[in-house]
Amino acid sequence: MDDQFNVKIMVVDDEVDLEPLIRQKFRKQIRTGEYDFVFAHNGLEALASLIEFPDIGIILSDINMPEMDGLTLLTKLKELKNPSLKTVIVSAYGDMENIRVAMNRGAFDFLTKPINFDDLEITINKTLEETLIQRKALHEHDQLISIRHDLNVAREIQQGILPKTFPPFPGRTDFEIFANMVAAKEVGGDFYDFFMIDNNRLGFVIGDVSGKGIPAAIFMAVSRTLIRATGLKGMPAGECLQYANNLLCNESVSCMFVTVFYGIMNMQTGEMEYANAGHNPPYVLKKDGTIEMVPSTGDIILGCFDDQPFKSAKIMLSPGDGILLFTDGVTEAFNKADEVYGEERLESLLQTMKDFSANKIVTVIADDVSEYAMGVAQSDDITLLSLKYNG
């Protein structure tokens, strides 16, 4: 058993003969480590011992003692507000008045003198059990608090790296971009990013890290930084992912991975170059209201297999066309009937979005998903990035 569940028993009595008697009666339990006794001779000594031995869980106290009696000790113990510290009072036979006072001051149980050692053993065991339950509950409570703390750290990392000012490039009329992430309760690893590579080219990224918590958040932050750093150098999309993959493979613990779509939109020519590492293919929203899927490149997720090549592909956009990137938190949102939102529903919604702004596209889809999943706990981050090319 853990150290923290080792409970000491403190006997408080001014009768000095009690210590050898108890050591003799419970010698077996003491030898096997089942019981561990500490002795004090009045209330003050008892309080001092509590500081010295924080693992005391049971106090067995006499009432009449010099310096500080048992009933005063009980009052002091109550002030400590330690639910896993139990006091058993030992009183003279038939002394109901003191017993009542002791119970009202928070004693867990009482015994009467002369002490019957069989009864004492039963009482100790019963009290020990209760103390252990309390300590375990307290321990679990502390663990929950620390987990919640971890989740907050992860959330801060995640939120800290997402660009959140829109419009991000206020002077530009040749394109619009809007993105949003709705984080699940348990922090996942979605991210998005975008940056101007030069005056004409915009790099934009969406990614989804497998796994949860701090490791996923760190992996996400590293992925985003690598892609941004290589992207800003103006490297082709596929080469950026290849470079990021090789470095991520060194970072990846127990096969954590990230799916990434990285696009480079040339605002002057309308050409979009892209590479896709295992991410859901985005949609092209044509000016006439029809939609198309961005053709797959068949490349694998980042972070697991090094020295993989990643292809760059190209498509052309016309002024008025847009692109929608999303993570599987969108298409794999569940409703109350346990059905997924699905690509079909997304596609039919997209078909109603002719002439929508980038902002409106994201907002309408996010609202539709949240309406669909009404009343069901969100299990994955929901992330959307919409780019509109105005030419």
Binding site: E186, D208, V209, S210, G211, K212, S254, C255, M256, F257, T259, A277, G278, H279, N280, P281, S296, G298, D299, I300, I301, C304, F305, D328, E332, V340, S379, D380
Partner: protein, 108 residues
């Protein structure tokens, strides 16, 4: 999700059914690591009952593949439903895993 295992020839066959997602991938991870550490080197995963797999689930399969391959063993998948196969294709996993149509082929 339910995970059961049987023997078929040289292969340890693991049947997955239901949904493999964030809430239960740890259970499968533990089992697979247990088998691999116990020396099972030929494992076939029958996915005929698997209706959904999240990225956490994919990670577990990937981990098993890497561990077994490193130990010189085989890790096969079979009987993927269409939606699962699609997820595998999107993630680029079909080029990494050996995926078979039937359990017989996967354990041949």
């Amino acid at each position: 999700m339910e995970v059961t295992d049987t023997k078929k020839g040289d292969y340890l066959v693991i049947n997955l059914s239901g949904r493999l997602d964030t809430s239960n991938y740890g259970e499968l991870e533990k089992k697979l690591i247990g088998f691999i550490e116990a020396g099972d080197k030929k494992i076939a995963v029958d996915c005929s009952g698997l209706v959904y797999i999240s990225s956490s689930g994919l990670r577990v399969l990937l981990m098993a593949l890497k561990k077994i391959t490193a130990a010189g063993g085989k890790f096969h998948l079979c009987c993927l439903q269409d939606n699962i196969r699609e997820i595998f294709e999107i993630a680029g996993f079909t080029s990494i895993f050996r995926v078979f149509d039937t359990l017989d082929e996967a354990t041949a």
